[in-house]
Amino acid sequence: MFSFTKEQKVFDISGIKIGGQPGVFPTVLIGGLFFKGEPDFNSAEEQIKNMLNLSKKLANPSITDFFIRKEEFIENILDFIVKKYPKNHPISIDIIEPDLKIKTLEILDEKKLLSRTIYNSIHVGITPEEQDALKNHTPNAAIIVAFNPKDKSPDGKIEILQNGANLIDTGLLELTNKIGIRNVLIDTAAMAPGDYSGAAIASIPVIKEEFGFPTGCAIHNVVEKSKWLDDFKSARKPVDASSNANIPLFGGDFAIFGPIHNSDIVFPIITWQDILISEYVENYFGVLPDDFHPRRKLI
């Protein structure tokens, strides 16, 4: 349990506060919503409602991460957000392909959703066209993935953020700032086991002390890629959910967990962890929890 010397930035993303010293604001839980095949919006609505209820009960804010994998799904998914997702609640839009990202940005703008969009994500593979699209249709916030193919250590992650590690002309932080996105969340890029997976967690306090931005990661990806867990079927889900507890313990601000139907396990684990941290940091560092912290609500 840590406290940082560097001033920690706190962003208010469409009503959800994220960042700061450990123990002030609860860990923000970003639940991944993937559609296998055609989107099933009835099930999606249920999953989101369940996550929002857990948020209400336990006080850890939640954001849905909408994974869009095909052009024909953009319009439907964004319409679903407009009609069924709580008004003004932030959304995370998660897309891999640059062309699809560009098209989605245009439609997010048309549907007036940019003010509550977290763009997931900006990384070293960003194209000039994507940068232009982001300048024309600027989202409220962006997740920067600190993936450095050259060096997956915390140093490598800092390098890619700071100067682009000779892979791109400028660091990803400056690039994002030039685009005009101020609310920056740093994802420490969790790698597969055998590929420096622990660096994603160890990088959290290093990056927060270096830059002061809200930091977290999708540590569940490491669990997904732990093939040896296939022999322990009943343990896979608890291991997956509890892996997220590493993030607040190392000072992190958000966990991108997945899939969203793991919410029932992930939320209580993180709430429990946040309370534990808050009790320590108040006693030793005098850091008080925010009025809406789980400790205020549950203890």
Binding site: E97, P149, D155, E209, Y284, F285
Partner: protein
């Protein structure tokens, strides 16, 4: 898994030790015959490709790579592997003309990549999901029964140098100092 013949490990299945074909499976449910040397899925256009290169050059019997199935969205890993074989990498270690999002080869020496390019011939079946067509192509490669490329090339993973001394009281990382209560400070400030 890892194997003496395939020291870099990965998600693959080893079949015939002196087989001449490695099968790279993209989005496809396909189990090749036991006559191939090795097969497995490819997901990422950087680390995934690195593992294929390292594990192929360590077995000189492999002379063909058959890449089949629908390419991975966004990552375009299959097409990026083809680009590596055709074009190699530039001075920034980026695969030349690769369509993937982050196609960088950072953990292999250039000699390893050149060896890979020389050792293997690519059979590009990206976009092909017709199993019988893929099997036919694999069989054609096997029938050619090419000679071994010679000695195995064991690629060493390039690693960052880490210097640790007794005076260096690092906790978590050398850039920060963590005191006994958990207060973090940047080292040197």
């Amino acid at each position: 898994m890892s194997d003496d013949y395939y020291p870099w490990g990965g998600e693959f299945t080893v079949c015939k030790k002196n087989g001449c074909v490695a099968v790279v499976i993209l989005n496809l449910d396909f189990t090749p015959s036991n006559n191939v040397a090795i097969y497995g899925p490819l997901k990422t256009e950087n680390i995934g490709i690195e593992k294929i290169v390292a594990n192929v050059i360590s077995n000189p019997h492999i002379r063909y790579i058959v890449i089949c199935g629908k390419d991975i969205r966004g990552h375009r890993s299959g097409s990026s592997l083809v680009a590596l074989i055709k074009n190699g990498i530039d001075k920034n270690n980026k695969i030349i003309d690769a369509p993937g999002a982050i196609p960088y080869i950072e953990n292999l020496k250039i000699e390893a990549i050149e060896r890979f390019q020389k050792q293997i011939e690519v059979v590009d079946l990206i976009g092909v999901s017709d199993i019988s067509r893929i099997e036919k192509n694999i069989e054609e490669c096997i029938k050619k029964s090419p000679n071994s490329f010679g000695k195995p090339y064991i690629a060493i993973k390039l690693k960052q140098k880490a210097e640790i001394t007794l005076e260096d009281k690092r906790v978590i990382h050398s850039k920060i100092i963590v005191d006994y209560m958990g207060k973090i400070k940047k080292r040197g400030e």
